[in-house]
Symmetry: C2
Subunit: 342 residues, 2 copies
DNA sequence: TTGAAAGCGCTAACAA
DNA sequence: TTGTTAGCGCTTTCAA
């Protein structure tokens, strides 16, 4: 008789499960689990070898959904940003991805496009997907986190300097950063320093404006003209044109984002002006694009990587479960040429 | 006796499950499923109302992990790109997210940073997470998809013009795009047209170089100088300096990416040259940054949104399950000022 | 050191 | 139209 006594000759149909591995290795499914997860029980070296072998031979790959169901955690975090095509946010997303990956978490990326309804939908969706946490760069300073709270999903807010009540957040000191920028302009001898201020859908105060004001007051200078527009290249372009047309034309401008500064640069170039000869310009964010504009932008750099680390750690790292707190990071003025420095 | 006959007075401890809803609404769990998913069986309007009510009152939210386990699909796709801080890829990621969201899929974002080992790790990880498909902008033209194949996860390659054997891919006709760009430069009367060519980790031929060559040949022109460097701003900067130093200095340059062109612009500005007066420049990609450089870049635009749509549809939309094919999209020359046009 | 088995929450086939 | 129920693949307690 040559009858087969085992059916494990060819890999089983469909995906290989832990059961197949157990059968092939001649152990129980529990042991396979212990081997795969390195615990919680120890396994005899010989047994472990058999299991590892079976895993390799069968090409076994654990099913994350089953694991997530059992554990109640998907080892995943969500990120909601206004727009991944904005270099500041794309750098942030990259950093958050890195930080999450280091802890074994995958990253769901979503764009709200500055749309409140979309933001809310993404929050809902992420909650339903049982993410272990969400990093939210909201269009509002007090976003609606009800869905996350109901699902007991921790969240951290990004880029808010004012302390949101009872929420963990990470950001920079916007006012201090802006002040440094404007003081630098004052140091160059400018007396009429304008402001290109970004606005979000929710028309909230932004500390960068305060910082600008404080620096002006500190130097005993009058308020320069203000142009409000979106935090984008287009917004900056429009603001630049308006500033040019303003009755009391400034000799220097502080822009509340690199993107706006890039737009302003374009408006000035088109009008035949040079920066920094005709106008000095200092921006905010410290994104890569600022380094490669012409002239390279002097800008207030946000420590994106550190912020991302802090956010992720607060969510799923050692900071998990700690009481809400606001992490403030220092900014750094990166001096290039747009301010008038050589 | 006042004993309670039901325990549904206050919401149950822990997360609300479909069972709680069923109990509260006085129906079976199956009915709850039918209501939540809108099928596969019809439910009487009155019953449906009761269930909806229970869902609202209890604050029920379906558990995606359980659903994924049962269905064998997580309604999730993965995206692997070299670098989300590169505007071309960040726009692509944004577009892929949009396209996926339209179909109810969430997006895992991962960056390979041009690192082959990292790319492989991400592929593995996405496979383990049972994504329903992955869009891969690989650093290689023939990436290692073994893990995806073993898990029977469909994949599509992005930005490859040569047809990868047996794989679905989407990209543009690089040679044709490059040809158009160079022909435009020829039309401006340039006789010595250089090339700034990007290189990836895997040193593979790129059809943009062919296109440049073809246009030159077609016009009976000699080959201009070539500078090879990374597809980045830094790479372009280095290439720009090399081109400037080259013995037979070109009067026009075709750059294989917007980022390189931005770097070249910087190199030229620093050396005191103007574009397009001293040098004409045409780039490739059509990213937003090209519009706001100075001067604005004439560039070969890739239809990112359409490409993302095609990729996602091939993965999880109507294209799913169809035999592998290569989707080629046409490029469009966006004429701005860097080429010498007014 | 290993195994048996309960059960995570959901879907859908089948029964009523 | 509604209900019952068998798993999906995994982890881990409890027993051996």
């Amino acid at each position: 008789m040559y009858s087969m006594t085992t059916s494990a000759v060819h890999p089983p149909r469909g995906p290989v499960t832990r059961k197949d591995v157990a059968r092939y290795a001649g152990v129980s499914t529990a042991v396979v689990s212990y081997v795969v997860n390195g615990g919680p029980k120890r396994v005899a070296p010989a047994t472990e070898a058999k299991v590892q072998d079976a895993i390799r031979v069968l090409g076994y790959r654990p099913n994350a959904a089953a694991r997530a169901l059992k554990l109640g955690s998907s080892e995943t975090i969500g990120l909601i940003i206004p727009d991944n095509s904005n270099p500041f946010f794309s750098q942030l997303a990259h950093a958050v991805e890195d930080a999450a990956a280091e802890l074994g978490f995958a990253l769901f990326l979503t764009n709200s496009d500055g749309d409140l309804a979309k933001e809310r939908r993404h929050i809902r969706n992420l909650a339903a997907r049982q993410v272990d946490g969400v990093v939210l760069a909201s269009v509002l300073s007090e976003p609606d986190l009800a869905d996350l709270e109901a699902a007991e999903i921790p969240s951290v807010l990004l880029s808010h300097s004012e302390r949101p009540a009872g929420l963990t957040s990470v950001g920079v000191d916007l006012a201090a950063g802006a002040r440094t920028a404007v003081e630098h302009l004052v140091g160059h001898g400018h007396l009429n320093i304008g402001l290109a201020m970004g606005t979000t859908t929710a028309n909230e105060a932004d500390d960068r404006e305060q910082g600008w004001l404080q620096a002006l007051e500190g130097a005993g200078l009058q308020e320069g003209p203000i142009a409000r527009s979106a935090f984008t290249r287009e917004g900056g372009y429009a603001a630049g044109k308006r500033l040019l047309a303003s009755g009391h034309r400034p000799t220097a401008i502080f822009a509340s984002s690199d993107m706006q500064a890039v737009g302003i640069l374009r408006a000035f170039h088109e009008a035949g002006f040079s920066v920094p000869e005709d106008f000095a310009l200092v921006a905010f964010d410290g994104s890569v694009e600022a380094e490669y504009s012409w002239p390279p932008l002097t800008t207030v750099e946000q420590p994106v990587r550190a912020m991302a680390d802090a956010a992720v750690r607060a969510l799923v790292g050692e900071g998990r479960g700690e009481p809400p707190r606001h992490h403030v990071f220092p900014t750094r003025l990166v001096v290039r040429q747009s301010c008038g420095c050589p």
